[in-house]
């Protein structure tokens, strides 16, 4: 199974290699044709520029958010923060800047509402008139004292202060609401490009003003930019890393070229087929080519290493190819299969881009397996390959010494390993689940720095939106409901980390004051229901286009939307604040007001929590499947079970190391266990299969078998692990945090797994596998497979 060794099998491999060598050109051209056809699907590849694609349709936080948007209005937005160098917003040139942005922002793609301090509908009283008008008249020249007056009005207005103007009035913002139809995938990018053109133009026209852009439209667009950056920067780097590694280990130009051909074919076919299948590209799935290349290279390295070793022993090219295929076909198939299982298990993730990553990578790994079997032998036949210098894996004295060390120190290593596993596993609990989508982007993204600027100076984009239901039609005018809403707003404003609360009750209070000749005594909620309803009617009647209350009140005026903006807080604190708010509503308001808040950032706050469960389930299923496959491959339930330990432990230990260092798990980390399982299992497959061969066929005792396993696959394991670790470390250079975190954690898992396979598994085998020797299974024995390497 692991290594087909029966003579008939050997004959079949030999016939296969004969065929490929004879028809090498035909096979090569035919395969290239098929690969080109597959890769041509690349033209259908679609970049998904919508952060909502992260969430499945049935995600409860997404559903809550969509429900809220259907009751009120869609809330895709751009916040254009205007920072005057003077540090004073209420200066004629700055007001003109904000005014012009406000007017021109209506022309932005999908824009349906624009709010700023200039078009704020300021209501005030003059005798018996209610005057509702733009706060700032752009056609007027204001005297300095009038500017001070405007500043005082704006800072006294809860709807403006800390939302559209800062406490010190040193920065101000224009809020643009876009209603994206969500019919094309580039809507957000179209809007973002137009916003950037507008701001560049404004910065030119009004020197001394710096504009910063944030909001969900810029977020969606940044996801797109992150995908493009990953593909254009990491993939070329990955080529360099792999080629250098290949040259280093194979010591052969032609070997490197063959490896290159295989990885190019695998990665391009996978991306092309993704295009044919309509799998969209998002930042997480844009790491697929890197993952595929990393995994694909291992197949050809294994085959080529044996090929060169055999040629060095004096075999002809064809004989060496046959020998290499015969020895490696089983392990390569098995490792490809287990890797694919781990990748496919990503489909259980709640986050669609990770489903896509798993599926694209599975296609790539499968393609790599097929191309390695079909294209590698013809290429070997065509290229003038010579035995050349010894490859690294043959000079394995150090590895043999390592084996001796492990045998000699087995008790100590077993204890050390057990303690390390227990200790590091205990550290797993130190991780907290934390997804702050702003921090997905490193500081090379304008979105990150601009959003940080906005949060530090004006207002963050971490929000919670509550739809508060009065339980009756027209009930938003019910004084007792308004008092409850107001009390909730008051309570929220007292909470640490709450930056701003947007509530309809502030509008009611202002209107009540306006109706009583602007007497500050009357800045309070109306006491009668009819009065409140009629104020609202009057106010709505006097609002201009786009500045209506439909985003705050539902159609039958039974519920109102409250928006809470928080400072830059962790997802942990966000979830805590959410829980506290829900608890407050339950304790202090009637049942119809109990609700669950929704927002973009709450979706992300819960994403890793939701995902960790599905990831663990995925990992469990993958692990079970892999154990069954290994049990069958090793023809032993016992060794199938033993193989679980060196595969499960590294994931636990890596998360433990992560807990001691980073301490924060995001959704990119959460999927690592699932994905890495199928990869790390390869090492133990190789080690165990050699060990068992020595025990069963060579009739060796446990120590002898460990020695044999070290000398045959020890160096190959180190080489392939090195390549895998290097490949995933390339991902850490991604400017997109999820990919970088996933890459780093996977690299740690792979590194720990190598340690576990070399330092812990052998002592464990020597401890558990006590019987002096296994009954030799004669049907398996094969003289050609003596410890010859």
């Amino acid at each position: 199974m692991t290594e087909p060794t029966t003579p008939s099998n050997g004959r079949r491999v030999s016939a296969y290699v004969d065929f490929l060598f004879k028809w090498r050109w035909l096979v090569l051209v035919g395969t290239l044709g098929i690969a080109a056809l597959a890769a041509s699907g690349g033209r259908f590849i679609e970049f998904k520029n919508d952060y909502q694609y992260f969430f499945r349709e049935d995600n409860p936080q997404l559903r809550a958010f969509e429900d809220l948007q259907e009751i009120y209005t869609k809330n895709d937005n751009t916040l254009i923060v205007v920072a005057p160098e003077s540090g004073r917003v209420f200066e004629p040139d700055t007001l003109a800047t904000i005014g012009e942005i406000t007017e021109r922002a209506w022309q932005l793609p999908f824009a349906t509402r624009v709010d700023s301090i200039t078009n704020f509908q300021y209501s005030h009283a003059e005798e018996d008139d209610l005057i509702v008008d733009d706060l700032v008249d752009l056609e007027r020249d204001y005297e300095p004292n009038e500017l001070d007056e405007l500043r005082a009005i704006a800072l006294a207005e809860p709807l403006l202060k800390r939302r559209l103007v800062s406490d010190e009035a040193h920065v101000s913002a224009v809020y643009v609401r876009h209603t994206l139809p969500r019919k094309r995938s580039d809507e957000a990018t179209e809007a973002a490009v137009a916003v950037r053109e507008l701001t560049a133009d404004i910065e030119n026209k009004y020197p001394g003003h710096v504009l910063h852009l944030t909001g969900s439209v810029m977020l969606s667009n940044s996801f797109f930019e992150a995908s493009v950056q990953d593909l254009s920067r990491l993939v070329p780097l990955m080529y360099v890393v792999l080629l250098v590694t290949a040259v280093l280990f194979l010591r052969s130009f032609w070997g490197m070229l063959i490896t290159l051909v295989i990885i190019v074919l695998s990665a391009s076919s996978a991306m092309g087929i993704a295009g044919w299948l309509g799998i969209p590209i998002t930042p997480p799935s844009s790491s697929a080519p890197t993952v595929i290349m990393t995994l694909a290279v291992a197949d050809s390295i294994h085959l080529l290493v044996t090929l060169f070793q055999s040629m060095h022993r004096g075999l002809s090219k064809k004989e060496a190819m046959t020998e290499s295929l015969r020895i490696n076909l089983g392990p390569v198939f098995l490792t490809s299969l287990t890797t694919a299982i781990g990748l496919l298990a990503l489909n259980l993730s709640d986050v669609r881009p990770f489903n896509d990553l798993g599926n694209i990578s599975t296609i790539g790994v499968t393609a790599a397996f097929i191309y390695t079997l079909v294209v590698l032998p013809p290429l070997v036949a065509i290229f003038p390959i010579r035995a050349g210098k010894k490859s690294v894996s043959e000079r394995s004295n150090a590895v043999v010494s390592l084996g001796e060390f492990v045998i000699y120190r087995r008790k100590g290593l077993l204890w050390f390993g057990a303690i390390a596993i227990v200790f590091l596993s205990a550290m797993v609990a130190r991780n907290e689940l934390n997804d702050e989508f702003v921090k997905y982007f490193d500081e090379s993204f304008a979105f990150r720095t601009d959003t940080d600027f906005a949060s530090e100076n004006l207002s963050g984009i971490y929000t919670m939106e509550f739809s508060l239901d009065s339980g009756e039609e027209g009930g938003i005018s019910n004084p007792s409901f308004l008092e409850d809403v107001d009390a909730f707003a008051v309570w929220l404003r007292e909470q640490p980390d709450v930056h701003h609360v947007f509530t309809l009750t502030d509008t009611f209070k202002r209107l009540n004051k306006n109706m009583h000749a602007d007497d500050p005594e009357w800045y309070a909620l109306p006491k009668e229901r009819e009065l409140a309803a009629q104020y609202l009617l009057l106010y709505e009647m006097s609002l201009p286009y786009g500045l209506d209350l439909n985003d705050t009140i539902n159609v039958d005026k039974s519920s109102t939307r409250m928006i809470v903006t928080c400072d830059n807080v962790t997802a942990v604190r966000m979830r805590e604040l959410q829980a506290q708010s829900e608890a407050w509503l339950r304790a202090n308001t009637p049942e119809h007001m109990w609700t669950v808040p929704a927002s973009t950032n709450l979706m992300f706050s819960h994403i890793s929590e939701r995902n960790i469960k599905s990831s663990l389930l995925g990992a469990f299923i993958a692990l079970a499947l892999i154990a069954v496959i290994l049990g069958i491959a090793f023809r032993s339930v016992k060794f199938g079970a033993i193989s679980l330990l060196p595969n499960l432990a590294p994931a636990m230990m890596a998360f433990g190391i992560w807990g001691m260092t980073a301490g924060r798990i995001d959704v990119g980390n959460a999927i690592v266990t699932t994905m890495a399982l199928g990869i790390i299992v390869d090492d133990s497959v190789h080690f165990l299969s050699k060990y068992l061969r020595a025990r069963r066929e060579g009739g060796m005792d446990t120590q002898g078998a460990v020695r044999y396993a070290f000398s045959t696959v020890g160096s190959a394991l180190i080489v392939t692990s090195f390549i895998l670790v290097a490949g995933f470390l390339v991902l850490t250079l991604s400017p997109f945090g999820l990919n970088a975190g996933m890459g780093l954690l996977t690299a740690i898992v792979l590194f720990v797994a190598l340690g576990a396979d070399l330092l812990f598994l052998p002592p464990l085998l020597m401890e558990i596998d006590k019987a002096p020797r296994l009954p030799s299974e004669s049907q398996l024995s094969s003289p050609a497979e003596a410890p010859a390497q």
């Binding site: 999908f110 009629q534 609002l543």
Partner: protein
């Protein structure tokens, strides 16, 4: 500037600068004819039920009565009385509409027992939370728009003129409106509203026209669909009465407080 360049510029820009070409004239003529056919009704009253629907199919109803007095040489005067929702029963809005000049408006709030003048020159927002903007419902004076005839077209098999009109008021929520006016009776059959960025925002469809006094056509059903937010509003009209003898004195601030 070089004189030659100036001359070339003038020649090139002339067509664009021309305010009224044949298409503009024809558009204006059609609008004037429609307006002419609707003059002389004197006064009218009608009841209306307004139904708001959001994307999830939730509904909300409002009952309104509207009294209109035709004013020669200026915009009409109208009195809008709210009967439901219960909370706003008895609230009444008095409007003196004008052509290009902002309308004068007073609102009577029974709960406050006061008449308040609404001093706001940009009343393009939604009417009572509906998809109708105040500017869609207010008296459609000819001079509120510039016009252009586009082509002959059909709506539901009825031969129509398709004209475009462009709001004169800079605070309008629209850049243009496409209006289908039937050739037989000069009734609006459909209006498409384009928002400030030139994108289709809403479609207005009046149906179930009935002729009163052998001359004046009134639609019993009007639907406004907002294509961008998925909401819609339906108006069902009934009890049309004409020439019931309303006078100027029925449209004053004092009358506002006695509408019920």
């Amino acid at each position: 500037m070089n004189r030659f360049v100036a001359l070339v510029l003038v020649v090139m820009l002339a067509p664009a600068l021309a305010v009224a070409g044949p298409a503009e004239d024809k558009g204006l003529e059609i609008a004037k004819e429609a307006d002419r056919r609707d003059t002389g009704f004197g006064d009218t009253t009608a009841d209306m039920i307004m139904t708001l629907r959001n994307k999830r199919g939730q509904e909300s109803k409002r009952e309104i009565e509207i009294r209109t007095l035709e004013v020669k040489g200026d915009g009409d005067k109208s009195l809008t009385v709210f009967h439901s929702p219960r909370d706003v029963r008895g609230t009444a809005l008095l409007t003196y509409s004008h052509g290009v000049k902002p309308d004068d408006q007073w609102l009577y709030l029974p709960a406050l027992r006061r008449v308040k003048r609404i001093a706001s020159n940009n009343k393009s927002g939604p009417f009572m939370g509906s998809e109708f903007a105040y500017e869609d419902l207010s008296s459609q004076e000819v001079e509120k728009y510039k016009y252009k005839y586009i082509k002959d077209d059909e709506v539901e098999g009825v031969a129509c003129f398709l004209i475009e009109r462009y709001p004169v008021d800079k605070d309008s929520g629209y850049t243009r409106q496409q209006v289908w006016i039937d050739k037989d009776e000069y009734r609006a059959r459909k209006i498409d509203y384009y928002d400030r960025k030139g994108q289709l925002l809403k479609t207005f469809t009046p149906t179930e026209y009935e002729k009163f006094l052998g001359k004046y056509w009134r639609a019993h059903k009007m639907v406004m669909v907002n294509h961008q937010n998925g909401k819609s509003t339906e108006l069902i009209w009934s009890n049309f009465k004409f020439k019931s003898g309303l006078k100027d004195s029925d449209f004053t601030r004092t009358r506002l407080t006695q509408v019920l």
